[in-house]
Symmetry: C2
Subunit: 436 residues, 2 copies
Amino acid sequence: METTMNEIGIGLLGFGTVGAGVVEGLQRHADLIAARVGARPVLRWIADLDLERDRGVAVDRALLTRDAKAVVEDPAVDVVIELIGGVGIARELVTRALELGKPVVTANKKLLAEHGESLFGLAAARGAALAFEASVAGGIPIIKALREGLVANHIDAVYGILNGTCNYILTRMEREGLAFDAALKAAQSEGYAEAEPSLDIDGYDTAHKAALLATLAYGCSVPMQALHVEGIRGIATDEIRYAAELGYRVKLLAIIKHEASGISARVHPTLVPARHMLGSVDGVYNAVLVRGDIVGDTLYYGRGAGRLPTASAVLADVADIASRLARGEKTTPPVLPPGGARARLVELAEVRARYYLRLSLLDRPGVLARVAAILGANGISIASMIQKEQRQGGHVPVIALTHDAEERSFRAALAEIDTLDVVGAPTVALRIEDFA
Amino acid sequence: METTMNEIGIGLLGFGTVGAGVVEGLQRHADLIAARVGARPVLRWIADLDLERDRGVAVDRALLTRDAKAVVEDPAVDVVIELIGGVGIARELVTRALELGKPVVTANKKLLAEHGESLFGLAAARGAALAFEASVAGGIPIIKALREGLVANHIDAVYGILNGTCNYILTRMEREGLAFDAALKAAQSEGYAEAEPSLDIDGYDTAHKAALLATLAYGCSVPMQALHVEGIRGIATDEIRYAAELGYRVKLLAIIKHEASGISARVHPTLVPARHMLGSVDGVYNAVLVRGDIVGDTLYYGRGAGRLPTASAVLADVADIASRLARGEKTTPPVLPPGGARARLVELAEVRARYYLRLSLLDRPGVLARVAAILGANGISIASMIQKEQRQGGHVPVIALTHDAEERSFRAALAEIDTLDVVGAPTVALRIEDFA
């Protein structure tokens, strides 16, 4: 007996790196996906302004078009994949597709971090899916894990290494003792960093993803502006070396936490224990630790970017939608529950953390006591302190790890310390996360 | 405007440790689940033979019954959760529920590993879900990741640390230098091992889970009997210590691989690189590495057992089903695609691996050469060899790591080596997995 297989028409907008990966994935595994979900994804159109460049995949030229709007309107297109990026034309096309009630799959974290609330609202109103697995942590199915796998949990915290470029740079700095600039150059020549690397190394890419994860975890829109963002540009090799001696590694970490007074969301270089799973994440890999109140700690690891890993996530969303369409499901669970209240977002000044300090102090009796007194007066106690070198009369680096302290008190203490006449250079401070 | 929320009636069969966790999870988070999926799970019945024992959760006594069959038949029960375990009454009840077209959620890996093919077939025929996230790796949403998150991938390999008891014992042995028996006793007194620990330590529990993962990865029933299973009972502290010196840790690993000639599936103690993510998994935690041809390596980590982590997985399945029912989805994607062929399973003898050897050799010139000659004659080359101690005239331990070799050749070489008059005790052999 022959079974009639549903076909799901795909309109692909954007034929860049990931777009070519999606085409390759469909060429290789349309049959596999069809067997698994009971509906066959079929590519109807590929829209791009550049129809000539070789993307390394053979495509039927009849599928190519420069008219992305017509692709969205075509009744033969059941699902729109948006891989154009940015918030200009991409936003228009996604909006139009959702208005038509067509499910949209996108990897566009910027669009969702900046306009997610209205787009998710539109999607919910039309009962159309707006799927974005590929927008966070590439091929790792973290969106699905958070939305579905851990659906029975209140989320206590999410910790993520979400930018492969930064993690690659930090790994090279640690392994080879490279300075930041040299490691960035290496990342650029390996194709892991852009010529203009600011979006990655200044933490904005991570922040876009963190805003999305926070939105999902707490069912309320968390705007980018609510996040405190520091990148890795200023990181010195010294910090990485001293951290290693103390059993830590420096990672650019997104931290989203449910605190007593609200939700805190921030991105900054962080000392994480080398023995912890997140401390074991090397090179371009990403990982996300999700702490649920029922399940405890779970962690998800994999390639956070790249042509095929990202395509894997795009096609998983397509397959989900195809499966639902094939089974006659009429609507899609909304990303933001209806009537979800705005979360109270905690200011950085209120957040508590442990700190790593590298002080530059005159090597003279009584100096450490003065620093300790200032910390103590601000309610900050020292967990351990190491004087790294002896140098007759000059300034020496002193490394201190503090116990838990409020950011506000910590900054006040630091400002006071840096005015001391025995301090030779501004104190370097990094937050520590022990995942306790 | 008041929205009418769909209620999904739950019949819970089995009020043991995990059952009590499910009740607690529902008490804490029924509202959260309802907000997230648009349907409220409501407990209609709890069936157990023992209605008196205190499970640490307060329940309305009117929900309790000893008549599990009546629970399955009750039209107010939309979803059946089976947490009885075993293949007796559990199989009857699951079968009956599916015959009635009712979705079933189970944590019963033994039932599915032994009778999955017929039960999945019945579920597909009735269009009812047979969901089992909780049966493998507890709270980690690995089934969802494999079936949905990686749906666009051919699965090249799955590697799993799937038994928390074994991993706890091995971690204690490594950290404290405990002998196996002492570490097992410690696990028992901590509540991490049963009084009769064979199911865990002899590898059968891991094998049940591996059979399920193989079935999912390749869309064809992989019977338990097809797996080669070795447990950790015979592991000596020496192996753990020598492995650590060589940069490895000993883990009970399930390995499922797509080989040129078919699928291999096995469970055995394995040396894994200490720096690898799977080498960082300590204590009762579980982790699964899935290698897809599109996405590359992804890894999933969390608590593999326990009252609440397992309940988290059960309730995720319930929420998925509730969401689908609420949105009018009529059928459920089958676990095994229709017409799925039987996989060719590769015999252990054909499998290739690297090996760790601890030889007991007379400390005399020419002895190593005789061993190396036998290995060489069987096509096995040595990657490194360390003589651990010098002892005048007696037998000394010699550690050798081999390159890739076929199990058949390796066993032949080992048998020959152990007949040599210079060998003081049977050679200890463990497989190495470098995840290359």
